[in-house]
């Protein structure tokens, strides 16, 4: 667990969408779905990423180009060196027999890994994947391989127009879903939480906060009194229900409260 960043060689890269690129490397530690790694681009910076695929010792992270670190990563290719430490935090706890996964944007990454594990354990998987448009739909073939896929796009260019939560609510009446997992924009996850509390279905959500140390020391990623890097990033519904800031507030790099 943890430790200094280990210098690793990127074995392979893969373009997932115009804004998302995946990186494969060999990692000796076991990583559970939902746990995260701190990835260092030497000389640029370090940021947390959850694992999207894991096959033996080969681990994959899928990265949306957004800031300095992710842009630098997108410029990297096979053979380049990155530093990796982790895995950190609490991952998803796989429960139930018929599960629903609700992904928004790059939140599909940890849910893809969870889908692969769930499918291997013969769970029935319903994946609801939201994207801005057709080009940004992530991991379509793989989710289809692991279960039923329902694609929702903001602009209606593919699948259903709207949010994954709309498609999910429809299925709820027809299928006997007994566990729900979500990762994506926090307002969407809050909606998933509200739907599941009403229907009394256990759910788990993976939260994102400003992350610095990754090891439960610096307090940058606190959500109320919970440390997202240590107590999370995946939280079960009982704890989510107690968080005043969930779905509402998050703190910036200084620790100043703002809207999620």
């Amino acid at each position: 667990m943890g430790g200094e960043p280990r210098s690793l060689t990127i074995l392979e890269t893969r373009i997932e969408s115009p804004t998302v690129k995946s990186f494969y490397f060999e990692y000796s530690e076991d990583v559970e779905p939902g746990q995260f790694l701190m990835v260092w681009v030497p000389g640029v910076g370090e940021a947390p990423f959850s694992v999207s695929r894991c096959d033996g010792n080969t681990v994959c992270i899928s990265v949306r180009k957004a800031g300095e670190v992710t842009s630098a990563l997108h410029r990297m290719k096979e053979g380049d060196k990155i530093g990796v430490r982790g895995p950190f935090g609490q991952g998803f706890k796989l429960k139930g027999n018929q599960i629903a996964l609700l992904a928004g944007g790059c939140g599909a990454a940890p849910l893809l890994y969870l889908a692969s594990v769930a499918s291997r354990e013969n769970k029935k998987v319903h994946a609801f994947v939201g994207a801005s448009g057709k080009d940004e739909i992530l991991f379509k073939e793989e989710f289809e391989k692991y279960g039923d896929l329902h694609v929702c796009t903001d602009d209606g260019s593919y699948g259903r127009k709207g949010f994954p939560t709309d498609a999910f609510e429809e299925i709820l009446g027809k299928e006997d879903i007994d566990a729900v997992y979500t990762c994506g924009p926090e307002k969407m996850m809050k909606k998933v939480f509200d739907i599941c509390s009403k229907k009394k279905i256990p759910m788990q959500a993976s939260l994102e906060r400003h992350m610095k140390c990754g090891v439960g020391l610096c307090g940058a990623c606190l959500c109320d009194g919970l440390c997202v890097c240590k107590d999370g990033p995946v939280f079960e519904d009982q704890l989510l229900g107690k968080m005043k800031e969930f779905g509402k507030e998050k703190r910036d790099a200084c620790g100043v409260r703002g809207e999620v």
Binding site: G2, G3, E4, P5, S7, M38, W40, P42, G43, G45, E46, A47, V69, K81, G83, R85, M211, K212, C213, G214, V215, G216, L217, C218, G219, A220, L222, D224, G225, L226, C227, K230, R251, A253, C254, G255, V256, R257
Partner: protein, 305 residues
């Protein structure tokens, strides 16, 4: 069960373990939770006048027993933090408000704002190894005394001063802040700073290149600093540095500490560390047939050779 209560400048602690500055203390809710998990008192993140981002990632290098950090004093600014201290106080444990400023006057301005939340103590961080001029007050007895005087002029809340070990004037600084009116000394802050280089790329891992060093191996250095300070001043000491067990805490206490700050060990034991150290201290007190922590403070023996 031995008596674990202790006192710092009139502030009563139900046990001697204190959450150190910079560890977790960003929100009122976490300070409450750390108190509930067993800490005798909790110290907030070091707060300055204005919101501050701190350094870029990587901000830490974790080598197990040796830990480097260069957070760079990220904080939401004093005005925003008043509410967090108020929330923290609902937990019922004493709150130590850690503050910094670019000069003595700014320290006082920060204290003036945060005193509205009525923390039990202020801790003046004159020893941060991770910001440009952070350690300069801590290495200069006159400048350190001036910071204490300026803050004392704006508040009646008792002051502690966080000492840097990175000076040959450790004892002089301690004497100076005591003379200027400090009621407590917190010793020590991080060592160094140190540097870790990634051999593969030749690049320093910390974005800030260098960072304060903490962890298990710091304990003997901290114990020596506490011992030296305790010989020179009368005010109580919060001993900080390398505490992972009751045995570690006992060494700081025997050297002269009335309470012990716990920081990096939170990485290994998370919030259970406070109860663990207290339970182990209790066993030590029983073994030594002592009834209270007070009977152990500063009992280091001088043996003539």
């Amino acid at each position: 069960m031995a008596e674990l209560t202790t006192e710092l400048a009139g502030v009563k602690l139900e046990n001697p373990t204190v959450l150190s500055a910079g560890i977790l203390g960003n929100t009122g809710e976490i300070l409450k939770r750390v108190g509930l998990s067993g800490a005798g008192a909790v110290t907030t993140k070091t707060i300055g006048l204005k919101p501050r981002k701190g350094n870029k990632n990587p901000t830490v290098v974790d080598m197990g027993d040796v830990f480097l950090n260069a957070m760079g004093l990220p904080n939401p600014g004093a005005e925003n933090f008043v509410e967090e201290i108020r929330i923290a106080k609902e937990g019922g444990k004493p709150i130590i408000s850690s503050i910094f400023g670019k000069d003595a006057g700014e320290f006082a301005e920060v204290a003036k704002i945060l005193k509205k939340a009525e923390p039990d103590l202020f801790e003046l961080n004159i020893s941060c190894p991770n910001v440009g001029s952070g350690m300069s007050f801590g290495c200069d007895p006159v400048a350190a005394g001036k910071v204490v005087e300026k803050v004392k002029a704006v508040t009646d809340i008792s002051l502690s001063v966080k000492m840097t070990p990175n000076t040959h004037l450790l004892v002089e600084v301690a004497k100076s802040v005591e003379k200027a009116g400090a009621s407590v000394i917190t010793a020590i802050n991080g060592l160094g700073p140190g540097m870790v280089i990634d051999v593969e790329t030749g690049i320093p891992v910390l974005a800030n290149k260098v960072g304060g060093v903490s962890g298990k191996f710091v304990r003997p250095i901290a114990t020596r600093c506490i011992y030296s300070i305790a010989q020179a001043v009368k005010i109580p000491i919060i001993g900080v540095g390398g505490i992972y067990s009751g045995e570690d805490a006992a060494q700081h206490i025997i050297a002269g500490a009335s309470a012990v700050g716990i920081g990096t060990a939170v990485k290994d034991h998370y919030l259970d560390i406070f109860k663990k150290v207290c339970d182990e201290l209790d066993v030590i007190l029983e073994r030594k047939k002592l009834k209270s922590i007070g009977e152990l403070v500063g009992t280091v023996k001088e043996v003539l050779t």
